[in-house]
Amino acid sequence: MSSSNSPCAACKLQRRKCTQDCVFAPYFPADQPQKFANVHNVFGASNVAKILNELNPVQREDAVNSLAYEAEARLSDPVYGCVGIISILQYKLKQIQISLYNAKQELARFSSGQAIHPTLYSPGFIPKLQHLDNPSSSSSVLPYIPTGADTHGGQLAIRETQRQLHQQQQQQQHMLQMQQQIFEEQKMVAAVAAREQQEREFVRFNTGFDPPANLGSINPNVYNQRNDAAAGMSPLALGTFENPYLIQTQVAEPQHHLQPQPPQQGQQSQPQQPKLESKEGRS
């Protein structure tokens, strides 16, 4: 709180008496003269006083700090001011989002091999990212269009770009959430496929012959049984297998798959089931 002996920076600059109810005194201390000088140069003392008087005392400090920030930006860049900072940050954010998108694509390749979900290539999303790869095409990055006489269009372009930015961010968040779900599913699918391969090798080791391809489809049952103990399914829960993975539709009825097999393979498959079960118990 300033006294008559130590005027605030505002009253000192304006060379007037700093009273006890001076609106500037709490926010422009005497040891920061440059802060008020910048604000006064850009906005003017009367305009700042009007703005502060319209606000609650609780909000005034934040308002003064944001005004000081804007004034400093405007003085350091008389053409663009804060808008230049916004443009730079928008560009930086989009660059990071592009890198993040590419990184998630690369991560998806690890989970699924070479398969990539079609939603990653949604036409509403990719063109914008591809468009941003070209730095010279800055019209979508800067929030204004320097049209000169067409000032109304420039203002609309700024608001439109704001809306577009918000929409893009919402869309990207939604896409990233979908991608995360897809990545988790693909990881589980890859794990199931690897487990199938392992079971086939076990069967080959036990019996000395390659099992038919659809016999390997029984294995997800075993995998699920190990991972879902509460399910209470037997290792060869034929006919009761619940397929959580929409991609693998062939594993729905494993017992049903056994029946149409050639006779020699069908006869050999029957005595092998206990061995497979015992093998499962051992491993």
């Binding site: 804007e70 008389p78 940050l89 090798e201």
Partner: protein
């Protein structure tokens, strides 16, 4: 000059709009709200002073930016356009941390794959050596796994070692 040809600035300030009015090209009479915002926040004299310091070809851009800042401040008297800056900064920080996390996962998967490849190469090398070893050594291996041929032994080792890194 008649009243109908005055720019929005001179109309708002109720003054004569001269031919060399600095504000006239950027505040047409068709959009009085634009100047009203700029006048409320920056003031007409400050606006004129700032435009006079700029070259002609940059003034339109400057007015657009000032108009944007003024309208943001009118909508949000506390933070104005600074709110957009802080939101963008927060989003950048979040995106950066997510990018770092994703790159870490990629590095982990890369390392895992390399380890698996090295294990496979070792297995193949061992299998190759097994073929080249003297018969007394390979027969002792067969004694450990009776009724199993060498191909089955290699397949078992292959599957056990490869799949062992999956879990």
């Amino acid at each position: 000059m008649s009243n109908s040809t005055r720019c929005a600035a001179c109309k708002s300030l109720r003054r004569r709009c001269s031919k060399d009015c600095v504000l006239a090209p950027y505040f047409p009479p068709t959009n009085p709200q634009r100047f009203a915002c700029v006048h409320k926040i920056f003031g007409a004299s400050n606006t004129t002073k700032m435009l006079e310091q700029l070259p002609l070809h940059l003034r339109a851009v400057a007015v657009d930016c000032m108009s944007f800042e003024a309208s943001s401040r009118v909508e949000d008297p506390v933070y104005g356009s600074v709110r957009i800056i802080s939101q963008l900064q927060e989003q950048i920080i979040e995106a950066q941390s997510e990018l770092v996390k994703t790159k870490g996962e990629i590095a982990f998967h890369n390392a895992q794959q390399q380890q698996q490849m090295q294990q496979l190469q070792m297995i193949h090398a061992i299998a190759q050596e097994g073929e080249d070893q003297p018969s007394w050594l390979s027969s002792s291996q067969q004694d450990l796994f009776p009724n199993i041929n060498q191909q089955q032994l290699e397949d078992y080792n292959y599957s056990n070692t490869f799949c062992g890194f999956e879990f």
